[in-house]
Structure formats: C-alpha cells, structure tokens
C-alpha cells in the first residue's frame, strides 16, 4: 500500500513540475507581495517596535516565510480542492471511488507530492530573496532547519485535512464555491498570513492561536524564529499540529463515509 501512495505522491510532484511557467509566475507574484508586505511591516514595526514580541528582523523573516508557505501549506487555498470538487460535481469522482484505494489517502498522497514540489519551486527561492534583500538572518544550525521543516510538513498535512473537509461539502452542495470562499477568507486571516497571530490581543488572539489555521503558518514560523526553543517547546508545537491533524483527518473520513454512503454520484 505504501508503494502505491508513494507512486501517487511522486505523480503529484511531477504533475506540478510540468507547469514550469506557472511556477515562475507564482514565484514572481510571491516575491512582489513579499516586498509589499515587507514595507508595510517596516512601517508598522517602526511605529510599534517589538509588536507581538517580534523584532523588526523577525517580522521581516515572518513575511517571507509566509510567502514561501502560501502554496506549500495552502494558506490561500489548498491547491487541490478545486479539482476534487470539480470531480465531485461532474461525477468523475466515480472513477476515483471504484479504485481499490482510499479516497482520502489518495488525495493526501497526491497533495503531499504537490506540497513537496511547491516547497522546492516556490518556497526556497522567495525565502532566499527576502533574506538577501532585507538582511534577516537564516538559521545556521541544521537542527533548526530540521525542526522548521518538520513543522512545515505537519502544517501542509493539516492544510490538506482542512481543505479536504471543505471539498467534501461538494457532495451535498454541488456548487461549493461559497464554502471555498468562506474557507479562503478564514484561512487568510487565521493562518496569520496578514499579520502574525501573536499580534492580536486578548480573547481574539487566544482563539486565533488555538484554531487549526495557526498550524499552517504561525507555528512553523515561530519554530523557525526559535520561539519554541527549550523546555519541550517543540513538542508543544508539534503536538498542537498533530492534534488538529488527527481531528481534521477523522472529520474528513466521517464526511467521506457519509458522502459515499448517502450521496448520489452525479451524472448517473
């Protein structure tokens, strides 16, 4: 079974690798937005130094990590849910369903391949450009990189589990665009893509940091910035991600089971 899903993941990787121009266009967009956000943050942090406990350099690193993880951790759309929902709407999902493979595991593997490609294609370069342009420091310790990478991998899986749940709604709604837009807007804010969640005060901040979207960017970025260092901090970060991952995957499975049991495959 593992070999099957490894093949699916490899396919997911190569599928996205075939669209080189799209990758370049995406890179360009990420970089432009990186600059726009950077200057906004510089203005903000000049006015309010140490906002959210971040130094100016940390804040800038945060911006570029965000740009690097947009597609990897599906901050603005998981990158697969449109395709999956379209397959449900048109009934092509029938083809996926009769295969001797699990639907969720299949899409999870394909998405892992996609994420891995995006990490190389659209993750590494913006981070490097940002570091060169704004002079924030990259960790020089391999252990720090490993810790960061693990948080990113977990973040991308949490993102998958979230967007899979969103996509499952198409079984009931047929046109899931409304749900996607709500999910998109929620993710944009609660992932910390616009501003770090640590900046928000009081109850709003507490809630935002406890929601699953925090696992996509806020947690990996804080791991990168060394905020979880020492005293089992990393275990807390990973535990938070794994907890949401398990919960959301289970919810996705339940939705999938309900869908395949009850819902008519369209186009019969």
């Amino acid at each position: 079974m593992l070999r099957l899903y490894a093949t699916v993941a490899a396919g997911g990787f190569r599928r996205h690798a075939t669209y080189r121009v799209a990758t370049l266009a995406g890179l360009f967009t990420n970089t432009v937005f990186g600059f726009v956000f950077s200057y906004t943050y510089i203005a903000l942090w000049a006015e309010r130094p140490q906002l959210g406990g971040y130094s100016m350099a940390d804040a800038l690193a945060y911006v570029w990590i965000g740009q690097a993880l947009i597609t990897v951790c599906g901050l603005m759309g998981g990158g697969f849910e449109d395709e999956l929902m379209e397959r449900i709407r048109t009934g092509d999902i029938a083809v996926d369903l009769y295969r001797p493979a699990d639907l969720q595991a299949w899409w999870c593997a394909a998405n892992a391949g996609r994420s891995a490609y995006q990490l190389l294609g659209r993750g590494a370069v913006p981070l490097l450009i940002g570091a060169l342009a704004f002079g924030f420091t990259l960790p020089d310790d391999p252990a720090a990189w490993t810790a960061f990478l693990l948080a990113v991998v977990l973040g991308s899986f949490v993102s998958f589990a979230l967007w899979y749940l969103v996509a499952m709604s198409a079984f009931w709604l047929l046109d899931g665009q409304g749900v996607v837009q709500v999910a998109w807007l929620t993710g944009l804010f609660f992932s910390g893509m616009l501003l770090p969640l640590n900046v928000f005060p009081g109850a709003l901040g507490e809630i935002a940091r406890a929601l699953p979207w925090a696992a996509l960017l806020q947690v990996p970025a804080d791991v990168y910035l060394g905020r979880y260092d020492g005293g089992g901090g990393l275990a807390r970060a990973y535990g938070f991600q794994l907890g949401w991952l398990a919960l959301l995957l289970a919810a996705g499975r339940a939705a999938q089971a309900a869908a395949t049991r009850k819902v008519v495959v369209q186009g019969g």
Partner: protein, 328 residues
C-alpha cells in the same frame, strides 16, 4: 451451461429528488432508476446492455462496481457483494467509463500504468507481459510518453481500456466505449474487445448507443427502459420482439401499379419501376420473391434488413404507449 459470474435478483435503486415547489416548500419525489432487474451473465459472455438515455444503464453499472448501493434486491459479482466489498471486487473487475478517464491528465500515459501496477499489486512479470500485449494490440507504442491531455479521444480511450486490463480482470464493464470515436478508432476498439473475449475469456458487459457495437460484438443483448428489463436474448430475437419488418425491394421492367396481390407483403411505396414491400422479419423472403416473379416482370431485387435502431425505437414506442394505456 456456463458459470454465472454476475447475478442480479430484483435489483432496485431509488433516488430521492428534492424539487422546489413554491417559495419554501420542497417536494420530495422518488425516482426509480432501476426497478427490479433480474439477470445472470455467465463467464465468458459478451453482453450488450442498451437503452435510451436515463434508462438506468449507468446506474446498473455503478451498482455492479460497488460505488452505488442498491436500494433493494440482491447482487453478486464473482460471488462478491459489490457494495460491501468494493475494494476486494475492484481487483477482479475492470471498468471503462467512455466519458471519464482514469488516466493522469497531466502526465505521460506510462505513469498511469505504473500507478495501476502498484494499485492492483500486479506481479512485475505479469504487469510487463500485459502491458506489452495491450501496447501491441491497441497500438500504444508511440503514445506511452505522451501526456494524456495531448492524446486524441480515440487514443485516450485505447489508453483507458489498457489501464482497465493490466490486472487481468475477470469482468470488464464498458460504459459507452466508442462514444465520440471516429470509424477507424471504433473498429480498432471492437477488434481488440473481440480478441480479448475470445483469447482470455474475459466476460464483457457493455452499454452503448452505437448499435454496430452490439451487432459486431455481442451474442446477447439486454434492453432496459425506465429501469426495467424489456428484452434479454439474441439480436435476431430482438428484431422479432420489436415487431421488425424487412423490406423487399423489387425492380420491375416498367412502372406498374402497386403490388398488392402478394399475401404476406405490404406495399410501402414506389419509386418509378422500383417498389418497396414490407414483410415480417421472421418470415422467409423466398415465397414472396417467387410470388412476385410469377406475376410481375421482375428485373432485380434486394432484401433490406431492419436496423436495430428502428427496432428498438419501435419497442420503446410500444412500452411508452403501453404505459400511457395502463395509466388510463
């Protein structure tokens, strides 16, 4: 007697359709897509499953693959209840949906086959052998490294058929396998299916709108309409059941009044010296020809077989009228 591979016993599938009826009120309506169908298919048979759009063909196929759960009745494929053991069954059946593809859209054909290899856990030597055979017979050699999105419809269909056969399925379901294909592609697909059935004994169940598929491939045909089995038998019998008529076309020496004195024949129309006489498909043409030749200056003649299209159209027409009748 063969061994039944597919068994349906009063199989039913009912869908609930909600319809808006007024501002807030919603009407629930039950649609019986499959309404008590029973049949068995023996190992090695090649069966056509035909009917108009919305007759319940695809719904039946979906239940046979296990992706739809029947609302009632009993269903077994190779001794397996499809809905309960979908994954186990999937290893023993192959499915081709003509309008959908199992192939990986953005990647070369070869990658999809590699995936099939893993998915069905096909032993390596078996996989290589089957792939080589399909590539040879379906002429896929030049296409293996082409991304699926660049394939023509006919090429893609051949690619899909190969993908469905790499794991040596006992049954192959084909849902509209020749839809949208040109004549050459159609005949290539048909030749391959004939060979598959003859050499490997693969049981084939195919739905189609193209009756030439049936004529050329299937010894048995089932007609379904409104979720019910209207006919199950051979092609010749279908002509009779549909009250088919054959046409005797006679060329006379000169223009003459309509031939109306020959028993068993019905004058249809005349076209100069050529006259068209209809007679029951089950009757022999010989006495008719003899009778015409005895009384008229016969120059040439031909017999035209009815096409199944019109036979089936007649049959559907019959059931619709029958239905209306019963409603009264």
């Amino acid at each position: 007697m063969g061994v039944p591979l597919i068994e349906l016993d009063r199989l039913e599938k009912t869908f609930t359709v909600r319809r808006r009826a007024g501002l807030l009120r919603r009407e629930r309506r039950e649609v019986r897509a499959v309404d008590g169908i029973s049949f068995t298919v023996d190992r090695g048979e090649m069966v056509g499953y035909i009917g108009p759009n919305g007759a319940g063909k695809s719904t039946t196929i979906k239940m046979l693959t296990g992706i739809l759960t029947p609302s009632g009745g009993r269903l077994r494929v190779a001794g397996i209840d499809p809905a309960r053991e979908r994954t186990r069954l999937a290893r023993r059946i192959g499915v081709v949906f003509g309008q959908r593809t199992t192939l990986w859209w953005d990647l070369p054909l070869r990658d999809s086959y590699r995936l099939t290899h893993r998915m069905y856990r096909i032993p390596d030597d078996r996989y290589r052998e089957n792939l080589a055979r399909c590539v040879d017979l379906l002429d896929l050699g030049d296409l293996l490294d082409v991304p699926v999105r660049q394939l023509s419809l006919g090429q893609r269909m051949r690619g899909d058929i190969a993908a469905a056969l790499l794991h040596d399925p006992e049954v192959l379901y084909l849902d509209e396998p020749t839809i949208g294909l040109d004549v050459v592609s159609k005949s290539r697909v048909r030749a391959f299916l004939r060979e598959l059935n003859a050499e490997r004994g693969t049981t084939v169940l195919l739905t189609t709108h193209d009756l030439t598929d049936i004529e050329q491939l299937c010894s048995r045909v089932m007609v379904i309409d409104h979720g019910r089995l209207m006919y199950d038998g051979d092609l010749a019998g279908l002509h009779e059941a549909g009250d088919g008529e054959r046409m005797l076309v006679v060329d006379l020496a000169r223009e003459l009044p309509p031939i109306d004195s020959v028993p068993g024949a019905r004058f249809v129309r005349a076209d100069g010296p050529r006259q068209y006489l209809a007679f029951p498909a089950s009757a022999s043409a010989a006495p008719l020809v003899a009778a015409v030749a005895a009384e008229y200056p016969l120059v040439d003649l031909s017999v035209r077989e009815p096409d199944i299209e019109s036979v089936i159209a007649k049959m559907y027409g019959g059931t619709r009228e029958g239905r209306r009748e019963s409603l009264r």
